[in-house]
Assembly symmetry: D3
Homo-oligomer: 171 residues x 6
């Protein structure tokens, strides 16, 4: 079985910020954005594995620039690495003020999904072969992020998280 390319899983989503998506300051609520990001990344994961998927985890997300009412949200999602039955998906999010022709970075994130067979049990996922330099970098970092997830979830001892330790001890 040959692997698939990250590019094959690319999902581009565009949404308009409507009144009900905003807080009293007229800015997009973080939870609403995470909802769209979940759908965009789930679709990327499904394109890669061709099976239904469930969200297994979401990594730290930091919201930089608020996105305003009436602005546009751009989301790009692409699978970065496969771990047997799970996939890590990388997301980039921009806001755009169409009237001012101004586009700005909002945040980046990593969502992880598990592929399911028709009985709802985890199922092997086709391998992924990164191509571009950025895809290789994302592929390499995925191991460290996975260790962080396992340590934070209490499923790995910090001492066994080799990649992660190296990251924190580099000077």
């Amino acid at each position: 079985m040959t692997g698939k390319k990250p590019q094959d899983s690319l999902v581009i989503m565009t949404e308009l910020v409507l009144p009900n998506d905003t807080n009293t300051f007229g800015n997009l609520m973080g939870g609403r954005l995470m909802y769209w990001m979940d759908i965009a990344s789930a679709l990327a994961a499904m394109k890669h594995c061709g099976s239904p998927v469930v969200t297994a985890s979401v990594d730290n997300i930091s919201f930089e620039s608020p996105i305003r009412l009436g602005n546009v949200v751009h989301i790009e999602a692409k699978v970065t690495r496969v771990f047997n039955t799970s996939m890590e998906v990388h997301l980039k999010v921009w806001g755009e003020d169409a009237l001012q022709q101004y586009k700005y970075k909002s945040n980046e994130a990593y969502y992880t999904f598990v592929s399911l067979d028709p009985n709802g049990k985890p199922r092997s996922v086709p391998s992924l072969i990164p191509e571009s330099e950025e895809e290789h970098k994302l592929f390499d970092g995925a191991l460290r992020r996975r260790q962080l997830r396992l340590v934070l979830g209490g499923k790995m001892k910090p001492d066994d998280a080799t990649e992660l330790k190296a990251f924190f001890l580099k000077d």
Copy 2:
């Protein structure tokens, strides 16, 4: 100025999983849950600081048990620690199958909010005085989690994250 108690910020939210909240397996979508969690924790933060707030970041979330269509979602949110103009909020989420009288843990999470003044600028937040043992534990861990956020956000060098390093190098 005297500090406030975590208990004063407690928010209890109950939601019913409706068809549009579910994926094709009939399970609550992760993004929909994060949306509710964002509102519950934002309300807890607002109760503490008495100002509007914006979501600054969300820590790693790991989704354990899927919550089914027609089940109930219980969310409890409480401020754990204050960092000048920001607040960390801890969330516990359960699912409940009312027909089978069965309640199960879904996940835990930490959301961070920034308090805003009427011009939308960050504003000091009243201090927080933990009371129960669990509140003290959450208060203590908040420092390490904050360092992780800063390191992951590229705003702190791993080497300066003293608490975090101790965590990864312990034993």
Copy 3:
């Protein structure tokens, strides 16, 4: 079979008033509030009987204080009394202006639900044993409210509504 306590059925719901929930004055629409109240009380009824339920009736509701856009809605629902296959649920609703740290009574209401078996037929409900003074008062008043429902629904002659008549003729 031993009875259950009202407290076991308690449901606490918290909602944020978003733009689409409001009329042109920026106040929560009554119908939107009744929608949330229906879900909160249905969940309380399901917790008591452990079966699916359908809304049978809603008693007079009087809306006192308008709840503003951006304010919080607090709903508490608890079963008050059981009538063979149906349950009366009492609701208390408050609004809260988190910025002004101000909480105010919005309204009280009674919803009645019928418990259903898997074929959709009415099904006996476990008995309810009130404990607190307030629970006893709600339990006692339930008979009079039920008579009012039956009279208004044309299913009981006013003359047979003993409790109700006593209420209207007391001086």
Copy 4:
């Protein structure tokens, strides 16, 4: 100033029951129906008074026949009587199974609205002149229903509710 006719305030609303409107039995949730009824009757009240209105109260509603997923909801709303700054609106609700060409009564209800001036203060409402026999009957009964609202809301002593007492003591 001449009065207006009930017919001038008639609002006809038609809605389709979608998946998210239903409980796990596939029946329209009572709360969703009350939401639509609130909008239909508010529109009828606004047509009569030409001002914004707020829901003041809802009378007892009894849900007879469940309305199924995919069925149609028909709502008719018409002002029945005016009380200085408030209006009572009568609603009739039917379900319709378009595939079986079958239309069935769901319920009737009375909603009361207060008319507001631009400052949000109660404002006098044009008088209403009933025409048909049914309109006269609804007009006459409105007094008794109003007394019931006042008594239930603790704003009138049962003993002063002359019309209401006559109703309960008749024959």
Copy 5:
């Protein structure tokens, strides 16, 4: 089998324009209106044929007057003509400013639906017998509109669209 009357399929829909239905100018978005029009006309088609229907096509729609936030949308839909397994439905849309007691024409449109049997295959539709003068006019024009649909859909050569050609070459 006797035919049915257009009047039997009449559907009257009334909707209130809420914040989330509007663009940044506070006007009803065209897409939201087309959504309501689709439901209203699908219900009219279902009333005529007594089977589920799917939207086959929508004719040119021109939006005349913007409908404002807080205004009311009135939609009337009625079957105009039957073509074996499909039905053309005519829609008229008005906006209404209840506060100014002012009602204005928004647009007209034609939606076409296909009737389906339980296997999802097209199914014959009862014939339609126009009665009023307007219904006859709509019935007659339906042939020309159908030719236009077929020509635009590449399913008929312009040269074979006799009615349509006559229309463009008249005078």
Copy 6:
């Protein structure tokens, strides 16, 4: 002032078909799709002109293949031609069954938007310079489609619609 390219206005939208978007056959409702298409094309128009826009008209849309619950909707929108203060936008819509890795054409459409100045009055739009062969073809056809809109809207006599007549009378 130099013109802009169609490619600069490209908007790619991806949506997941959720339960509430479907009819009783589990297929995406036409009206829901037209709602998404309206937003996608409005965003394309706004990217081109840098001003708010309102939907002026929608051309004939023919729905070919139904899109199933759980499938993905792909929409691509691009400005085709400018007419002083208005823009025609071309849309292509595909459905995708991610599980079967199968993507299929759903329909094509043309939406027309008017650009508005801050007072809500029509405003001149930058010119458009088509580049690719397909863009030239869409640019050329836009004149004929515009004549059809004007004729159907009663704003142009069929006899004056030169391009359109040529189309219907060709060979």
